[in-house]
Symmetry: C2
Subunit: 334 residues, 2 copies
C-alpha cells in the first residue's frame, strides 16, 4: 500500500446546488459518498449586490470569485476533480445560461446536455433546467424549474420502484409539484407560496405587530383550517383575517407567522393536490421544517407522505456526473 493510493476518502466530484437564496456544496468520493460540505447563506440574490448584473463579464467574475472562495480548498487539493452545478447559477441571470429541457423530459441527463464554463484551468459543468413551454395560442403560461430536476434524480435513488409513477413536492420559496413516471418528468407546477409568506411576514403591514415570532404548531393548524376553507374568500381575504383575529385577541401576535404559514400552504394544497392526487403517497423533498409543514397539510387532506433528505441534490449530482461520464460509477479504478 503506497501513501498515494486512492482510498475511500479520495475526492471524485465537486457538486453544487447554487440557487437564488442559498448555495450548498459537496465534496463527493467513491459512489457519491459525501466527504465534506460547505453551505453559503445568500445565493444569486447576494451575488447581484454591488455589480452591474446586465454586464455578463462582471457577473462571471463575481460568480468565479464566489466559486473559488467556497470550493478553492477542494480545487487546490484535487485540480483534476470535475465540478458540476445545478440551480439558478445556470439561468440567464446566473453565471452562464445552461438552457432547459422541455417536458416531458427524460431524467437521464447526458454529457451533451450539460453546459460548460471554463474556470481555474478546468471547467464547471452546469445542469439544464426543465421547462413547460408557454402556449402563445391559448396565452397560457408555462413553467420552469432549475435545480429541482437534480433533487428529483437524487430522490429516485432512495425510493422503491423508481420506474413507476410518483408525485414529488419540493417545498421552498417556489414550491414545485412534479409528476414523474418511467424516469420521465411528465408535468410540474410552481407555486410561489414561500415567497408570498416571506413577503407578507417580512415586509407586509400584518408584520407590524412588534412581537418576535415564535413557533406555534396550534396556530399553524388554525391557519391550515383557514386556508383550506378559503374557497369562498380567496387567499387575499384569508390572509387579512389573521389581522382581525389578532385585534380580537384570539391570535397572539407572536403566533401570526405560523398562522400565515398554515394559511398559504393550505391554499396551495387545496388547489394543487386535486391535480397531483391519485398517487398512493406524495414524496416530500426539502428542508426538514418545511417538509413537516407540508406533511401536516397533506395528511389533513388524507394524503400519506414520505420525506426524502434534502441532500438528495448531492445524490442527483453524482448520478448526473456518472451518466455524463464525468466520473465512473462505484469506486474509481485509478
Amino acid at each position: 500500500m503506497t501513501p498515494d493510493r486512492p482510498g475511500l476518502s479520495t475526492p471524485r466530484l465537486i457538486g453544487l446546488d447554487w440557487g437564488t437564496t442559498s448555495m450548498r456544496c459537496w465534496l463527493l468520493g467513491d459512489n457519491g459518498r459525501i466527504l465534506d460540505t460547505r453551505r453559503l447563506a445568500g445565493g444569486l440574490l447576494d451575488m447581484a449586490a454591488g455589480i452591474d448584473t446586465a454586464d455578463p463579464v462582471a457577473r462571471a467574475r463575481a460568480y468565479e470569485a464566489t466559486f473559488l472562495d467556497v470550493c478553492g480548498e477542494w480545487l487546490r487539493a484535487g485540480p483534476d476533480v470535475p465540478a458540476l452545478a445545478c440551480g439558478m447559477v445556470g439561468s440567464a441571470q446566473g453565471w452562464y445560461e445552461a438552457g432547459y429541457l422541455d417536458v416531458p423530459a427524460r431524467l437521464d441527463i447526458t454529457g451533451p446536455a450539460l453546459a460548460r464554463v471554463p474556470v481555474a484551468g478546468g471547467a464547471l459543468h452546469l445542469v439544464p433546467g426543465l421547462r413547460v413551454p408557454s402556449d402563445p395560442r391559448r396565452d397560457s403560461a408555462g413553467d420552469v424549474l432549475r435545480g429541482e430536476e437534480t433533487q428529483v434524480i437524487g430522490a429516485l435513488e432512495s425510493i422503491d420502484r423508481p420506474d413507476t409513477e410518483h408525485v414529488l413536492v419540493l417545498p421552498g420559496t417556489h414550491t414545485k409539484w412534479i409528476r414523474i413516471a418511467d424516469r420521465k418528468v411528465l408535468s410540474f407546477t410552481t407555486a410561489m407560496t414561500g415567497e408570498l409568506y416571506g413577503l407578507v411576514t417580512r415586509h407586509g403591514l400584518l408584520s407590524h405587530t412588534g412581537a418576535t415570532p415564535r413557533r406555534d404548531d396550534a396556530a399553524f393548524a388554525r391557519g391550515l383550517t383557514a386556508g383550506f376553507s378559503s374557497r369562498e374568500r380567496g387567499l387575499a381575504a384569508t390572509l387579512f383575517g389573521a389581522r382581525a383575529l389578532v385585534l380580537d385577541g384570539l391570535l397572539e401576535p407572536a403566533a401570526l407567522a405560523d398562522y400565515l404559514s398554515g394559511a398559504v400552504i393550505a391554499d396551495e394544497v387545496r388547489h394543487l393536490l386535486p391535480q397531483y392526487g391519485g398517487a398512493d403517497h406524495i414524496i416530500l423533498c426539502g428542508a426538514a421544517d418545511l417538509c413537516r409543514r407540508y406533511a401536516t397539510a397533506l395528511r389533513a387532506r388524507g394524503m400519506r407522505t414520505r420525506v426524502v433528505d434534502e441532500d438528495a441534490a448531492a445524490a442527483g449530482l453524482w448520478s448526473i456526473a456518472v451518466g455524463a461520464g464525468l466520473v465512473t460509477a462505484g469506486a474509481d479504478a485509478r
Copy 2:
C-alpha cells in the same frame, strides 16, 4: 354688510382621512363645500419612523406635530372650527383608539360614538371603525375597517335611492367589499389584494427584471384572464406563471406589473363577486386608476359598475359632523 360677516367661503369643518399610507385633509365650508385641500403622501407608516411606537406619549406627540404642520394654517385662521378625522389614525396603533361599531351597524354615527383628542386648545374628533367580530367557537376570523365607513356615508350622498340595498367596492391596499341596506352596513370583507400586488412588484423575485414598468392595458387584460382561470392552480401558481411568460418572450418585462395587477384583481373578484353579487350594479369608490381596473374586471364578469369620486370621504366627514352636532347642516347661521 360688515367685513366680518360669514360668507360662502367661511370655514366650517376641518376634515381628515388619515390612513396607513396617505393623509388627505379638507377645509369645508357651508354645506360641506370643499374650500381647500392638503394631501400628504405617507400616512401612519411614516409617522412610526423614528419614534418608539409602543410609547403612547411619543406617538401622540408625533401625530400632533404632523396634524399642526398640515392643518396649522387653517387652525390659526379659524381657532373655533371643529376638526374630524377618520381612518387608521383612530386605531390602536394610531393617535388614539376610537373603537369600533359592530356590524350590522347603522351609518348615522352620532356624537357619543366619536372619540375626542385634545389638541391646540380644541379637540380632534375621531370616527370609529366597523368590525365583524371573530367567532371564537368556530375559530372563524372577523374583519375590520376604518375610514371606509366614512367613504360609504359620503358615497350614499351621491347615489339615487340610498336607502335600498347596495354593494360597494373600495379598492386600495386593503380592498373592501361592503353590502349595505337601509343605511346599515350588513356585512363586509377585506382582501389585501393591493398589498400583495405591492409586495410582489416591489420586493418580490419577479420584480428583478431590470425593466421600468409602463402601463399596458393588454397585459392587464391577459392577467385578468389568468386570474379568472386560477381556480385550478391557485393564486401562488398563477403569479409564478408570469415569470414563465417573460422567459418565453411572451410578456414584456415592462408589462409584468400590469399583468400581475390583472391576476390579483381577477383572483379577488372571482372569489368575492359570488358572495356580493345579486346587486344590479356595484358602486366603486377610490382612486381613479384602481376603479378603472376593478370596473374592467367586474364588467368581464357581467357586472355593471358606477364610480363615485374618492372625495366621498369629505362628504362623509361633513355628514358625520352634521349628525354629531359639530356643525349645522346647510349654511351656518352665525
